[in-house]
């Protein structure tokens, strides 16, 4: 295992934990985006560029955007 892989793995574990324990959904969406990026870096480091590309587009962009839109709806409704 290379140092890069180990670093990515530990980063993924820590950021993943942070995602779960960030209780505010809006802030969580941001952390989740970073989590998606960390996962992509990990995937690149294990020679999986295809998966990394998909993960960036989905995990770091599409899903956080959906979360933000859902929150926008929910927030507006609360007001």
């Amino acid at each position: 295992m290379t140092a890069l892989q180990a670093t990515c793995l530990i980063a993924v574990a820590i950021i993943g934990t942070l995602v779960v324990f960030t209780r505010d959904p809006l802030r969580q969406a941001a952390v989740a985006g970073i989590f998606g990026l960390a996962l992509s870096a990990l995937f690149l480091s294990v020679q999986a560029p295809d998966v990394a590309l998909s993960q960036i587009t989905v995990g770091a962009i599409v899903v956080p955007v959906l979360v933000l839109l859902a929150m926008a709806k929910i927030r507006e409704h609360d007001r």
């Binding site: 295992m1 560029p49 295809d50 990394a52 590309l53 998909s54 587009t57 989905v58 962009i61 599409v62 955007v65 959906l66 839109l69 859902a70 926008a72 709806k73 507006e76 409704h77």
Partner: protein, 247 residues
Amino acid sequence: MSRRVRCVLALVALGVLGATLVVAVGDLEPFGQYPGPYGDVLAKVVPGERHTGQLVAATVLDYRGFDTLGEELILFTAACGCVALLRLRRRERSDEPSAPERPAPSLASRALGGALVGPVLVLSAYIVIHGHLTPGGGFSGGVIGAGALLLAYAAGQRVRLRRVGSIAMLEASEAIGAGGFVALALGGLIAVGATLQNFLPLGTSGMLLSAGTLPVGNLAIGIEVAGAVALIVAEFLEQALLEEPSE
């Protein structure tokens, strides 16, 4: 069950589950020593059989193409499901404020959005059609294509997204893409007798038009994914922009 009890129960259960999982992964080959044989056999046969060096694309679109068919249909189903779940009830839609005068977007943002649409679209197309040569392919390219569609929408900023047609167009596009992949599967069945089997000339490895059905499959997936993702985001967007009638 009170939250406290539930929490304790979950912690104990997850602790036990985690312990057994740790024991189990201890029996796996150590990290970095993939034992094969599946991937190794594929690495040996794919370049000769499919005239491509993109093993992942060949696996996804051909050798394990049926999984991908299922996956595309899951995406298709989820898009249909989101439309069905987020669809507005008739009352809601008719109560929609007739002229929601939203502030028009500034000229600068419109210009920027408009200027970006072209390049993003090109990037998306590039990733899709090179899917059998380089990393990426129908899925990543399709998601980026959905981004381009949404940018075009943002630049246009006619907030009435449900202006007849746009949603129907996205629905049609995702259906056409998914249908294209199904048709590809049927094509193999009709032309050469096995579902999903290649029935196009394989060409020269490394060329844009090579590897038989792989680029066609990527194209179908690209269209489907672009349509489905744009459709899902558009439905959420419409929800977020809709002024809720007071209930």
